[in-house]
């Protein structure tokens, strides 16, 4: 029986070239404002359309950086399950994501490795597309269990090398 504390994904099941399950989300003004306020980002371009248009030259309010990070984190942990521990995340917001856009998340495994402490790492190339447009490319390095008894969250100090 699988429970929430049974590892969903072990390193041995991951191969270079493997793709993460796709995720789509239709963005509304509420999506943008929820994300901005949850990340305590009070800047007006994330909740005030007039400001975003007149001051920033954008067509609307747009998703803010920490919320973009939270979306990527959710996308990755949907795949790894709760044992997956994010070590590193980078992304480039090439063009903003606006209300009315449908974000389409994708990810492909580019490397699988084990460090000198025995921690298993998966490197992922990430992307958010809207239609055919690549809005946000990114990269992640996430630790996954080597075996059923392994727990990346227990690693500290020299045993955690993100």
């Amino acid at each position: 029986m699988t429970t929430p504390t049974t590892p969903r994904l072990l390193a041995g099941a991951v191969e270079v070239g493997m793709t993460l399950p796709p995720l789509e989300h239709a963005v509304s003004a509420t999506t943008v404002v929820l994300g901005a306020l949850a990340s305590r980002d009070w800047r007006p371009m994330h909740h005030d359309k007039d400001f975003a248009v007149q001051r920033n030259g954008m067509k609307d309010i747009f998703i803010n950086t920490p919320n973009n990070a939270a979306w990527f984190e959710r996308y990755i942990s949907d795949w790894t399950g709760p044992h997956g521990r994010l070590g590193r995340l980078s992304f480039q917001m090439k063009t903003p994501v606006f209300p009315g856009d449908t974000m389409r998340f994708s990810g492909v495994v580019t490397a699988v490795s084990s460090d000198d402490s025995g921690c298993c790492w998966v490197e992922i190339d990430l992307a958010i597309h809207v239609g055919d447009a690549l809005k946000t490319p990114g990269k992640a390095r996430v630790a996954v269990p080597a075996e059923a008894g392994d727990n990346p969250w227990s690693r500290r100090g020299d045993r955690w090398q993100p």
Partner: protein, 175 residues
């Protein structure tokens, strides 16, 4: 003395590169309500954040999603006795002011995560200007790119993580 790579950069700005600034402690209690708000905003159903028994087994109790690191350093929009708008990452706003670039957007963001953040933690952070580019014409206006690292540690001195933000500060053509 100016360098050939940064011919138009004011000396006062160049002197900031590599210098830790604005060391500060998180000013409000780190608590699970913020975690639920963040998870709800992105529909993150990870049981690590919703099921206490999972958190107890995997992380020895509740933790915050690693990508929330910057959340803990964003000040309240208003507090009693404060004057003017209160801003996170003051170094970034200092640069905008000193360089005369009224607009700015984040163009790249990288985070490296260390010890998990837990409810009740008190974090300390500092801001470091890592680099600043030459003037550049972009499609939104003329400006510069710069990168600021924000390093955070907890009350035990454990490294919690480092966030690196690359900005484009710019002036729109009509400004």
């Amino acid at each position: 003395m100016s360098t050939p790579l940064l011919p138009e950069l004011p000396e006062a700005v160049r002197a900031l590169i590599g210098v830790p600034m604005y060391e500060e402690r998180s000013e409000f209690a780190i608590e699970l309500g913020y975690v639920f708000n963040t998870c709800a905003a992105v529909q993150n159903g990870n049981p690590l954040y919703w099921q206490p028994e999972v958190a107890a087994e995997l992380t020895g109790g509740p933790i915050a999603p690693p990508t929330m690191m910057s959340v803990w350093f964003r000040p309240h929009h208003w507090t009693p006795g404060a004057s003017g708008e209160r801003k996170a990452m003051q170094l970034h706003f200092d640069l905008k002011e000193q360089l005369g670039l009224p607009e700015a957007v984040v163009v790249k963001h990288e985070s490296v995560f260390g010890e998990p953040v837990r409810p009740g933690d008190v974090l300390t952070t500092c801001q470091i200007l890592q680099s600043i580019g030459e003037p550049k014409q972009t499609k939104v206006g003329r400006g510069r790119f710069w990168t600021i690292d924000v390093r955070a540690s907890n009350q035990h001195g454990d490294w919690v993580g480092t966030e690196s933000y690359s900005f484009l500060g710019y002036k729109r053509p009509q400004q």
